[in-house]
């Protein structure tokens, strides 16, 4: 579907994107994750044809965005950051305009508009002026316009930006349903959102791809350290700490918050191929049982994408001095 090969972008002497390569297929939600200024939006603008890469190639269904721009752009639906729209138009008026612009045949237009309205739950505001809509609704109008012509590739730049938690959840559900027909490429700096929405995550920093894989793969590769959360009675906390520390595979124990006579402990584990997290969980349980401590809670503490992200960004060479300056 989408094939990005070694794309570069220079703005004068500034090398904004440095050899980004990846491929994505239909039915996949791929997240471009990176700090501000990482090159996410520049990469997205090159993929959507806002401007061409200084070097490298981008193809969509085998069509080059550089040499076959009209045909390849017809296969792309693009929602730029902050969803720019014409405020004076009505929702259906705008969708009708976009359908014409993308060459949706007249006979198919009403159906395409209805489908886009339903997909983004915009039916109740269909006749309203865009200027009268809230930020969340405007974002949905932008998404409806991007998905209107059933593009093979849907590119969404920070789709959850500025939305409240309920709107973010609705946006996530809509994006997941759009992935049934299309390949969705979205950029975000909201880590939790990317983790919940995307099948695959590409971490970009300083214009380079630092990691590419499913959230689980990234956790395994870049944040292998797992942990166990243990909640014990305050009076037994010291003994429990000593016992857990002596359990096999435990690298260390951190004492956490204390609440209503209960203390939270966090045991950092040395994950090895021989001992899985459940096995180590059992070993910790046995150590506590041996000293007669019954924990109120004993649960694995899986590393989130946030830890993966920070681990990647803190790795040597992730952010070079030119950019940091």
């Amino acid at each position: 579907m989408l094939d990005v090969r070694d794309i570069h972008k220079w703005y004068g002497p500034f090398h904004a994107v440095r050899g980004v390569s990846f491929a994505a297929r239909r039915g996949e939600v791929v997240g471009l994750l990176g700090p501000n200024g990482a090159g996410k939006t520049t990469s997205i603008r090159m993929i959507t044809g806002v401007f061409p890469p200084s070097r490298g190639s981008i193809t969509i269904d085998g069509l080059s965005i550089q040499t076959d721009p009209e045909a390849s752009r017809r296969r792309i639906g693009y929602l730029p950051e902050s969803a720019p729209l014409y405020p004076e138009m009505s929702v259906t008026g705008y969708l009708s305009y976009r359908a014409r612009l993308f060459g949706v045949p007249a006979a198919d237009r009403p159906g395409a508009i209805e489908r886009a309205l339903s997909l983004t739950s915009l039916e109740e505001v269909r006749r309203k002026r865009i200027s009268a809509l809230s930020k969340g609704f405007r974002q949905r109008v932008g998404l409806a316009a991007a998905a209107l012509h059933r593009p093979g590739l849907l590119v969404l730049d920070e789709p959850a930006n500025g939305l409240d938690p309920t709107q973010i959840r609705q946006m996530r559900e809509t994006i997941r349903s759009l992935a049934n027909d299309s390949c969705v490429l979205l950029s975000s700096h909201i880590l939790s959102e990317v983790e919940l929405t995307c099948d695959r995550v590409i971490v970009i920093a300083a214009g380079r791809v630092l990691a590419d894989g499913t959230p689980a793969e990234l956790r395994e590769r870049h944040a292998p350290e797992s942990a166990i959360q243990i909640e014990v009675a305050e009076s037994e906390a010291t003994a429990a700490t000593i016992a857990v520390r002596s359990a096999p595979g435990v690298a260390g124990v951190e004492s956490g918050k204390s609440e209503n006579g209960w203390r939270l402990l966090r045991a950092r584990l040395r994950t090895t191929k021989e001992a899985s997290v459940p096995e180590q969980l059992a070993a910790v349980a046995r150590s506590l049982h041996d000293i007669g401590v019954v924990p109120r809670m004993l649960a694995p503490d899986a590393p989130g994408l946030e830890r993966v992200f920070h681990s990647l960004l803190e790795s040597p060479g992730a952010i070079d001095t030119e950019r940091a300056a």
Binding site: K9, Y11, R45, T48, G49, V50, F51, P52, E70, A71, R73, R74, I76, Y78, P80, S82, P84, L85, Y86, E88, M89, Y97, R98, R100, L101, F102, G103, G142, A145
Partner: protein, 240 residues
Amino acid sequence: MSATLTIARRELSSYFRLPVGWFTIALFLFLCGCVFGLVVLAPGRVASLRAFFGGAGWILLPVVPAISMRLFSEEMRSGTIEPLITSPAREFSIVLGKFFGAGAMLALMLLPTLLYAGVLARVSARPPEAGQLIAGYLSLLLPGIFYLSIGTLCSALTNNQTLAFLATLFVLLALMLASALAPAIAPAFLQPALAWISFDSRIQDFAKGIIDLRHVVFFLAASVLPILLAGTALRARRLG
């Protein structure tokens, strides 16, 4: 062509959805009405709209930049240029669509002034001649289209509407001034060339009721260059 018409339609309808569109029309008609009422409808004068066409031609100078200033500047300021240039429409289709939309707005703005011809026909013994009327409207429409092409180019060069308005007005005034002063200050050997490119003399011919096809072709051809340059500016923007 379909993308051009789609963009032209959206452009034209947006003038009527925004206060600035109605304000521009109202201002133009008010000023034209003043010229008509105070100059043309004077008792004892020959039934002719020539003075009206002359006055309206001057009124177009600030009005046309007001029509063209938002064509691209507003798209660039608000960011709507991105969804537009990532659509399958080519750069020149986009520029032509915007230009045609603004041109249709200009034509619609001139339309109500036909009422003046009706009023004049009713109150005067001899109604104005149809040929003179057509030539008079061409004296507004054709330069108006040329002004719009310059406005389209200026708007494609900046994301600031005010700057686009002022730049268009400045270029038009400079052209007018050059056209008027050239015969007096240019060397004799340049006079024929300057006379040929002068649009003021061509407007005067229309105002006299002369419909010269060469003048029609001149204004339409002169509009092509700024449109091509606007398309190039948009392409350059896309090339980053």
